[in-house]
């Protein structure tokens, strides 16, 4: 088997461009996912029944159906609602963000439930509202505690973002496909793509480990 090194070197800049887009949509989806996940996670354990229901349905739907189908649904359903052609960017980030939000919601829910209920009682007994106590006391503690799970979720999301190639979005995987279509060098390009993904996921996991270490140090004080 010949491994065409020149081709890899030639394609590398194009693949890196794709990797940049992968990072961009992952970062934006993570941001969307954290915001949605935080509110849905809190809604799931809040006292308002209708919010609990909405959050439960949301989490069940997005965890219970394939991301690929969600991407198609968002991509083809958005034009029906807005009357305009879907912007692949918006569709990709919406689908990935909504999907990630469901997992993040469960992470936050368990994190919040792991905080001693005496914390909520202490906050409430000082005259703070439920929302204030959540915001200043419970959520900051829960957030620290769930950083490792959030890290895992973001690594998963980075890899799953390859699925948005199906709507023609030119991120890393799609770039690889396009280069292979021209050069037929499947093995070279997919190897190269895999290594680029690996570098990105390892970077995230190291960064999360660093954050964990930082916060553990804070707690020791």
């Amino acid at each position: 088997m010949d491994f065409n090194v020149d081709l890899v070197i030639q394609s590398f800049p194009l693949l890196l461009l794709g990797a940049g887009i992968t990072i961009k949509i992952t970062a934006l989806s993570v941001a969307v996912g954290i915001v949605i996940g935080l509110f849905m996670g809190i809604a799931r354990i809040g006292r308002i029944k209708i919010f609990r229901w909405i959050a439960a349905i949301y989490v069940d739907f997005f965890r219970g159906t394939p991301l690929l189908i969600q991407i198609f649904l968002v991509y083809f359903a958005l034009p029906l609602m807005t009357g305009q052609r879907s912007d692949p960017y918006v569709a990709a980030i919406s689908a990935c963000g909504l999907n990630s939000g469901a997992y993040v919601a469960e992470i936050f829910r368990s994190g919040i439930q792991s905080i001693d209920k005496g914390q909520m009682e202490a906050g409430r007994s000082l005259g703070m509202t439920w929302v204030q106590t959540m915001r200043y006391i419970v959520v900051p503690q829960a957030f620290k505690r769930v950083i490792p799970q959030l890290g895992n979720e973001f690594i998963a999301l980075l890899k799953d973002s390859s699925l948005v190639s199906v709507i023609g979005f030119e991120e890393l995987t799609r770039r690889g496909q396009l280069i292979i279509a021209k050069t037929y060098a499947s093995v070279e390009i997919w190897t190269c793509v895999a290594i680029i993904y690996l570098i990105m996921t390892l970077t995230i996991s190291r960064f999360v480990a660093f954050l964990e270490w930082r916060f553990a140090k804070d707690d020791r004080h």
Binding site: Q119, A122, L126, T129
Partner: protein, 239 residues
């Protein structure tokens, strides 16, 4: 200051409080004693609605408690100290004390900080302002918790077994702070197993058993001349 009328509280099938009537006067120090499971902590927790009564009426400083509508307003007037301190672990001692005045009473940061330092001084922990709870001993944590409650300038202080989670050598420092509070005229309700302290500081002692106030009176009456058999047998075990 606190008026409780025919208070019932049930957890599911289990009725913990069976029609309690209690009137705590301004500046009065009331000690609640009794065996565990008697309902004394539940009674205390009904006074600031941490437990919602099943039926009956609780009035604090003239305001009847009726659920979420006014509960935060009333809780500003009622400080609470917990057995397990429940300090906020992600904040320093100073920040623990400053948080509620800033968020609830919208006090400025400078003012809150000034007040917090005064309170730490008062509980003898001026040098621990920047320490996190995990860096403090149990007794120190409980004193910070008392300062935190006092920062809201409450009219009543509730203590739920404030020394039960402490090592014996730390009990004294917490009781000293409570003693000085009582001397300054704070209205206090204290669930406690410290009989010596109850006898010394309380104006009135309530013996709680079986979900109600079985017997009450001055410390001398309860500790020297208990009338009820249950009270006598309880005291003989703990004194």
């Amino acid at each position: 200051m606190i008026v409780i009328e025919n208070l019932h509280k049930a957890f599911g099938e289990v009725e913990v409080l069976k029609g309690v009537n209690l009137h705590i006067k301004p500046q009065e120090v009331v000690a609640l004693i009794g065996p565990s499971g008697s309902g004394k902590s539940t009674l205390l927790r009904c006074m600031n609605y941490l437990e919602e009564p099943t039926s009956g009426k609780v009035t604090v400083a003239g305001t009847p408690l009726d659920g979420e509508a006014n509960i935060n307003k009333v809780r500003e007037e009622v400080g609470m100290v917990f057995q397990r301190f429940n300090l906020f672990p992600h904040m320093t001692a100073l920040e623990n004390i400053m948080l509620a005045p800033m968020k609830v009473k919208k006090v400025s940061q400078e003012e809150a900080q000034k007040k917090a330092r005064e309170l730490l001084e008062r509980v003898g922990l001026a040098d621990k302002a920047d320490n996190y709870p995990s860096q403090l001993s149990g007794g120190q944590q409980q004193r910070v918790a008392i300062a935190r409650a006092l920062a809201m300038e409450p009219k009543v202080m509730l203590f739920d077994e404030p020394t039960s989670a402490l090592d014996p050598e730390m009990v004294g420092e917490v009781l000293d702070v409570m003693r000085s509070l009582a001397k300054d005229g704070m209205t206090m309700a204290i669930v406690t197993h410290e009989m010596g302290f109850a006898r010394e500081v309380a104006d009135r002692v309530l013996f709680i058993d079986g979900g109600g106030i079985l017997e009450q009176g001055t410390p001398a009456e309860i500790f020297e001349h208990p009338q009820q058999e249950r009270t006598k047998s309880f005291l003989s075990k703990v004194l």
